[in-house]
Every structure is written in C-alpha cells, then in structure tokens.
C-alpha cells in the first residue's frame, strides 16, 4: 500500500502510532478484510493489537500525554481505509471510552478505563436509539425502574455492534414513575451479567464481521458501579461533538481507500478513466481540505457553541458524502475487476453506504443543522 504524502499529525510520537496502525492495516487487516466482510469473521486480535499500539486511546489523556482527538480520528481513518467494518468497531470502542472517561464514576475509570484504553477489554455503544429519541425520531427501547440500590432494566435493543460475551457497552433507559417518564439514566451493560441475552441479527451489508447482536435485557440490574450519567441529557450535550467528530474517521478512511483504488488502476485504465467525473486528484484535494478542517475542529472536541456544533455536524455529513462519491467513483474507475465479489472496491461501496446511514445518518445531520440554523422567534 502506498503511503500518504502528507503526515496526518505533527508530533513524532503521533506519527509512530499512525505508522504502526498503517502497517497493521496494510498487512494482517488487509488479509482478513474479505473474511470479515463475507464470512463474518470478527477481527478480535486486530482490535487487541490496535489497543497495544495505542490507537484506541489517543483521544483520552494519560499522565504526561494530553488527549488528541485528531490522532484518534487519523488512526480510525487508517483502519477504515483498509476495512470499514473494523474502522466502525474502532469508533464503537473509542466512543465507549468517552462515556467511561467522562462519567466521573470511579468504578468506570481507573483500572477499568486503562484496560479499555489499551484494548485489553472491548467496549461498544448502544446509543443509536437514545440519540434518535433525543432528536424526536424514536422512543426509548429500554425502560428502568428504581429498586433498592439501583435500577432494573428491561427491553431489547435491535442491534449493537462490537459485542462478545466479555464485552460491555453504554446505553440509556427511561425511568417511568406511575407510568410517566420522569428521567433517564445512562449506564454500562456488561454482556456477561445476569439478565443479558445476545440474539442473532439478520445479515448486514458490509458489517457481517462486526459481531452485531440484538440485546435483550430481562430485569438487568444497574448499580452505582454501572452508572455513566444521571441525568443523561446534559451529559449527552457535553459529549455530543466528541461523539460525532470521532465518527468522521470512518468517512475519511473509506474515502481514502477508494482514492487508493482509483490510483491503483490509473496506469492501465487512465486513458479511459479520464472521461469519468470525480477523478482521484480532485477527490484527494477535497479530502485533504476536509481532513484539515476536521483536525481543526478536533482541537476542541467538547465545544458546545451552536456554530461549532453545526460545523461538526456538517463535517461529519461531508465525510459521508465524500465517502459515497469516492467509493462509487472507484467502482467506475476499476470497472469489472472492482465488481468481483472479492474486490475491496465493491466492498467499499457497501461500507460507504454504512457510513452514510449509521446514526446520525446524513438525513439526521441535515435535519439537525436546519433546526440549529433556524432563527429563534418569540412564541
């Protein structure tokens, strides 16, 4: 695999991380990508290795090292460039780290967070439903009731990715008192705890290897040790930009992978490909500009200013749109060879679709931008 001409981040230590991730991606991950896609192989060892390389914790500060969201995004992009499904799982794990780190709950920090940050334990996120509920698109699927020392939660989340018997993930349940929803709690669900059942999901395009399960909770007990946030809404408001910014790593990576595929046939097919729209140099220029913009936004991942949030939402939408265009164009550039089921090019088309529809989807992003942009008038 050819390397990017431009370093993604500044410090030599960061470059080492990116270089190591790139090697892992171009080697073992590239070899496994087709199995992940078509045989549903879950790349657990790759995820552990990414943790060892420091690729899963760049966005969380450690003693002597500040948090660097730009580096976390760049690492996710390097993974997504080769395998979008694995890139998505990196995001699932990364954002679970944000929940734990920002929870302020000692039980979710300390050793637990350190194991998570280094990829020794693996985490995920079941926040699609709550995010859509807060945006007025869905209603809560998990329901909690107060009991001695905590809550009992019931309900089913239709699909949660990057799960396993020893994994855990963040989720939200509403709390009804006498049938009226009064509040919500955000908490960690441990897949091996009593009351948790993982159930098979239908097949997913491009995401078969992501260990995606339906999760049914039956009287699942949430104690103080599992609480991420209570109340939930201010917490979500605070981590919202970080949550969305991290996702841009998927779009940037899938787009870069597609551009790589265009270049790989340029010598043989350039004489006909020059008649296509969206040529690799144009797309690369647009991708580089967008990357620079995202790196700038990533310097203040916890911003809450309205214009900043609009910028973040738009950057995420742009990354999705660019991934769609690039993947589509890469298929046209490669022609029949890209259409083979074994080709990464057609796999990437499906990955780009996923980037565009995973919550928040392009349509959700635009709706939210319109809502935030609207002029407020008295009632």
């Amino acid at each position: 695999m050819e390397v990017l001409e431009r370093p993604l981040t500044d410090s030599p230590q960061d470059l080492d991380v990116i270089k190591a991730v790139r090697e892992l991606a171009a080697g073992p991950l590239a070899e496994l990508a087709d199995d992940i896609d078509r045989r549903g192989i879950y790349p657990k060892s790759i995820l552990h290795r990414l943790g060892e390389l420091g690729a899963l914790k760049a966005h969380m500060a450690e003693p002597g090292r500040p948090a660097d969201y730009g580096l976390a995004i760049a690492a996710m992009a390097e993974v997504s460039r080769v395998c979008g499904a694995t890139g998505f799982m990196v995001w699932c794990h990364d954002v679970c780290g944000v929940y734990m780190e920002q929870s302020g709950n000692p039980a979710l920090m300390g050793q637990a967070l350190s194991d998570h940050a280094n990829g020794q334990t693996l985490g995920a996120t079941g926040m699609s439903n709550p995010m859509k509920t807060f945006a007025g698109i869905e209603t809560f699927l998990l329901h909690a009731k107060k009991v001695d020392g905590g809550y009992l939660v019931n309900g089913t989340l239709p699909w949660v990715s990057n799960l396993g018997p020893d994994h855990y993930f963040g989720a939200v349940a509403d709390i009804a008192v006498d049938g009226v929803v009064t509040n919500e709690i955000m908490f960690l669900i441990r897949c091996d705890a009593p009351g948790v059942a993982l159930r098979d999901c239908p097949s997913f395009s491009a995401m078969e290897g992501t260990n995606t399960w339906a999760v049914r909770l039956t009287d699942y007990f949430v104690g103080a040790k599992e609480i991420i946030a209570d109340p939930v809404r201010p917490f979500i408001g605070r981590i919202r930009a970080a949550f969305i910014l991290l996702q841009t790593g998927m779009g940037l990576g899938v787009a870069q992978g597609a551009i790589d595929s265009m270049w790989s046939v340029e010598r043989q097919l350039g004489h006909v490909n020059e008649f296509l729209d969206d040529r690799p140099d144009d797309l690369q220029a647009e991708l580089d500009e967008l990357t620079a913009r995202i790196m700038q936004l990533a310097k203040t991942p916890f911003g809450t200013n309205k214009q900043f949030i609009i910028d973040v939402l738009d950057a995420r939408a742009h990354a999705s749109e660019l991934a769609l265009r690039a993947a589509q164009s890469a298929l046209l550039h490669q022609g029949a060879r890209g259409y083979l089921m074994t080709s990464e090019v057609q796999r990437r088309v499906r990955e780009s679709h996923f980037v565009a529809i995973v919550t928040p989807a392009v349509k959700h992003l635009r709706k939210e931008i319109a809502r935030l942009s609207a002029e407020e008038l008295p009632a």
């Binding site: 046939v265 647009e286 500009e289 738009d314 029949a336 083979l340 319109a370 942009s373 002029e375 008295p378």
Partner: protein
Amino acid sequence: MKTTAAWLLFICKACGLIYDESKGDEDSGLAAGTRFADIPEDWACPLCGVTKADFEPYVEETVQRARRPVTGGDTVRAKRAAGTVIVGAGRAGWQMAQALRAQDATMPITLVTSCNGDVYDKPLLSVAMARGIALDKLPREKGAVAAQRLNIKLLAHTEAIRITPSSRQLRTSRGTLRYQHLVLAHGAQARSLPQFPSALCWRINHLQAYAKFCRALGEIKQRVAIVGAGLIGCELANDLALAGHSVTLMDVADRPLAATLQATQSQQLLDAWKALPLTFIGGAGVKQIQAAGLRGEKHITLEGGQTWVVDQIVLAMGLQTPNQLAASAGLAWNNGIDVDAETLATSVAGIHALGDCIAINGKVSRYIEPIGRQAKTVAATILSQARVPYASTRVPLRIKTSSLPFTV
C-alpha cells in the same frame, strides 16, 4: 529452475489479477518460485478463469499521485453544467435571478433560501398596518410561481451551511450544490445583544417574522416596546401606534432618529406623535429582559433601574451581517462582505455578493435603489459581457413616519 533472474510479475488483462512468480499460486498448484513461462498453457486465472495467454508482463510503477499520468484529462472532462447559485431570496436574490435570466435563457440558476421564497417589498413591513394591507396581500408573487416564471430552481426552507471554493460547492441542509458562479444575497439580520433573549424579543427583518409578530399581536391592543429609534424603529412605532397599540419607543440617544435628523426635526416628529399612543424614552439603556406573568408579559429593566411591563418587545437596533458563510469561504470581510467597488466581486474567484450583506470600502448600504444596479453589474461579469461598473451614489432617503414623513 533459474533463481538468479529477478522475479517477474504478470497481470491478467481481464481482471487485473497479478501473478507474482515469487509467490506462485498455491490454490492452482503453482509453488512459490514457479516462473510464468513454466506454467502449463491450460492454466486459468484463479480469479476470473481466462487462460495464461490473457496475461501480460507487468512492471510495478508508482503512480505520481499529485499529477495524473494521462494528459489532457482536464480538457477532456466536460465542465459540469453547474450554473449559478444564489443564496437569499430577498429583493437582492430575486433581482439577481431576474438580471441573469434576462440575458441568458439557458443558464442553470438555483436560488437557495431559508425562507419560503415569496417575493415581497420589505419597506412595506413598517407601514402595512396603517395602510391596511392584509398579511396575505404582502407577497407580490409566490416563490414557486416566480421560480417557474424565471425558469430557475428554488430551494426554499434550505439553509446554506458552508462554501468550499476549491471545489466550488455550496453545502446546504438539502444537499450539496456545485456552482460555477455563486452570488451571496443573504442580507443582514437585526442586531442583538446578550441581554435580549431571542425567545422574548422580536427581530422583524423579513416577511415570515413580521407575519408571526402580527399573529402574536392579534386583534387586541397590546403594549409594545420598541428598542431602537432609528429608521425602522420609528417607522414601526408610528405604524403600530396608528393601529392603536400602546407603544413605548426606547433609545440610548436622547431623541428619535438622532443619527439621521437634526434636533429640531426630531422635536417636530415628537410633536406630531403627541396625538398617538406613543411614548419616547430617551437615554434608555436596557439592562435586562425577563418573562413574567402567565399572560406572556415581559419586564424590561433599564440601566437606571426603571422597569416597564409590556406584551411584546421589538428589537430595532440596526442590522448586522452574518459572517459564517463568508468565513467558511475565507472571503475578505470589512464590516460586511468586502467587495470590489466596481465589479462587486468578493476576494475569492467565482463568488460575488450584493445587497445588504456587502460592504464597499467598509461601508454598508442597506437601501433598495442600488440593488437593481448591483444585480446588473454582477450579471454582466457572470455572463462575460461588457463591464457594467457599479457606482455608489447617495440616494435620497424617505422616512415613512406617516405622522410626519421626512426626506433626507
């Protein structure tokens, strides 16, 4: 087996599979190190099944990514029919569309606006009540009808989010538009300050806000405070008072229209207003606005400590140009979008601007008359016609305080 020569690569002409002599192809029984020449003729490409004869030698070459090896690509690639995109459907936006369509019947034109796109005369908003113009009579033409008449695409209720000049794209809340020329005609907004929460104070700078304000007023006479006694504040105060509302007009200056009229003229205006339910409070700096009471009343607290209880508050402290869109494109800014005095071009190629959002040498002009001339100037540039240099001229200003109108 010769092992001294370098390993060679062969590419399948059908599917692009590369046979690497050093690796062989285990699946089809070719051990690592099998020379291509030694492969049986009936061997088939493991990927697509074509025969050995369909392979050719392949030499790995790194493609220089910065430049495509095939030349002439840029000239071959047809320019997309991106046309002109206009942001804003006030007078400036519609005049721009009109000026372009008058000269070019086929150019694709897209008008992007956060409002519904209806065509109306904004100056009427501050005199409509006294003239008895019903709300539904204010739009001269529905946006969709005007769009059809001019054969343009109208994207109503659409937010322009960001410009990426390098790829000539305008990102909006309804998708991304490519443009060959972009014209910013998005106007300005009512100025605000932190002590004026937007949920409590009206900012009436377009028809939709005015319509909502009128509906909030309803049929009952209300207590209305207008903050700012400039042109719009005085005209609105005059209009609302004539309609029977009890109006308190406030300004930090000690007389109305202090920036436009001489002291004696301000006094004449105050005298003319004596017959109306209109009180002017000079030297009034607003400290705080709060919602109070069950009927939606608002409390205005002045710096001096006095408190006023009103039903509605209207801000008329002047206009300011929103800068997000201009900033996203890196446009030069000088009190507004900095444009060339003669061509109205912005500092970035392919982007022009006119109307309330521009500033020429740091000066804004927020009047109606220049807009038509500005549109002709920009149209001439876009259509590569003979230049029509724009000239800033001072136009007489009519202050439509009907109790005592002024022309200055």
